[in-house]
């Protein structure tokens, strides 16, 4: 599970495209393809290695107009899943 102080960044060697506001990611061996929903896509987009989890949560709150607790729960849970799938890395 990721923590609030962790900085998240996209893993190397992935390719992705934005399709109708959602991210489609392909792993470098072509074996796995992932489709992120709009919130997941926003978390992905914001994970540039310069922002920690709390900063990403704040930006998600603004973008989707949701309470901090909701955004925090989404970012920690979803961010952890993406780290487990090796799509995001802890910088």
């Amino acid at each position: 599970m990721i923590s609030e102080k962790n900085h998240l960044k996209k893993s190397q060697d992935l390719v992705w495209r934005v399709i109708n506001g959602e991210i489609v990611i392909m792993t470098s061996d072509g074996r796995e393809i992932h489709n992120l929903n709009r919130v997941g896509s926003a978390i992905w987009e914001l994970s540039d290695g310069t922002k920690n989890v709390n900063e990403i949560v704040s930006l998600i709150c603004e973008r989707f107009n949701v309470p901090f607790e909701t955004a925090h729960s989404d970012v920690v849970e979803f961010g952890s899943q993406l780290v487990d799938k090796k799509l995001l890395e802890i910088a």
Partner: protein, 289 residues
């Protein structure tokens, strides 16, 4: 220039590829296997095929494209299953192929090499060609001049669709060429077929594309572009060329290719029973909301 006894001149889409073997009898069997796709065109590439006999058992992988290594003009597929070199200026390629790869259904794996040859020549002619052309796993049916592509991984029913559509022209039940020309998409036969033997060599404008799966009834379902791309890109054959290992670039081209199709060609998921009635669903698809 005439065709040699030891030569199989194969037409793959717009590309003509000359395969030359040491054994003329073996060459004759190859010509017979690809009989609907033999060509008299000037070859874009001549491939000298040396068949390497071996005593050891070889495990044939389902995909040899991802394990390729390249060193200068030399390539090596799957730790020596196919090794060789290519000189595009001289339009010549020499390969050593392990005998096991040319037996029975393993030929389909060897055909992955020929597809990479196809992409190589296509890229050399015009880089834009590859962005608009791809091999796709699918059964293509031409009905009243309209092309219908049923795509899906092994076991989802491509050959079954072909058998159930025998009233129409079957372009191929395994691997087809999809290309974009003047803003429209076309589906075209390829020499690389599955179990259905009565396919014809031809092409049709692509009218609709279906991601197929077996079901308990015939159902046509609209899916989002994202779902379509995520599923369909798996059925596009990796579009790298022989001397390239730029996987990221190829994957992006494949994703863009799928996205481009989705912008022009109607796409659906088709769950079907093994009977001809799935065509009724397709005939009524305009009524779907």
């Amino acid at each position: 220039m005439g065709i040699y006894n030891n030569e199989c001149r194969l037409q793959i889409g717009d590309i003509c590829c000359s395969l030359r073997f040491k054994d003329t009898q073996y060459c004759e069997s190859v010509r017979n296997f690809y009989k609907d796709f033999l060509s008299k065109n000037e070859p874009d590439l001549t491939i000298e095929v040396n068949i390497v006999l071996h005593n050891e058992e070889i495990d044939i992988p389902s995909n040899i494209l991802m394990s390729k290594t390249v060193d200068g003009n030399n390539f090596n597929f799957h730790s020596g299953l196919i090794t060789g070199n290519i000189d595009m200026d001289k339009k010549q390629c020499i390969i050593d192929v392990k005998n096991a790869l040319l037996k029975e259904r393993s030929v389909r794996i060897f055909e992955q090499f020929l597809i990479q040859v196809y992409y190589t020549i296509l890229k050399q002619k015009n880089r834009e060609n590859v962005k608009n052309t791809s091999f796709v796993h699918g059964c293509a049916v031409s009905r009243d001049g309209c092309g219908f592509l049923f795509s899906g991984p092994s076991g989802t029913g491509k050959s079954t669709i072909a058998k159930l559509s025998s009233d129409f022209k079957i372009l191929n039940d395994e691997l087809v060429i999809v290309n974009r020309s003047n803003g429209n998409y076309f589906v075209r036969s390829s020499p690389f077929r599955g179990d259905f033997k009565n396919s014809i060599n031809g092409s049709s404008p692509l009218s609709a594309l279906f991601l197929i799966k077996h079901g308990t009834k015939n159902i046509l379902r609209r899916i989002s572009k994202t779902e379509f791309l995520t599923r369909f890109v798996r059925e596009v054959i990796y579009s790298d060329s022989l001397l390239s290992t730029k996987k990221k670039e190829s994957f992006l081209e494949m994703m863009d290719f799928c996205s481009g199709i989705a912008d022009i060609v109607p796409f659906y998921e088709l769950q079907f029973l093994p009977d001809k009635n799935f065509w009724d669903c397709i005939d009524n698809m305009e009524e779907l909301t």
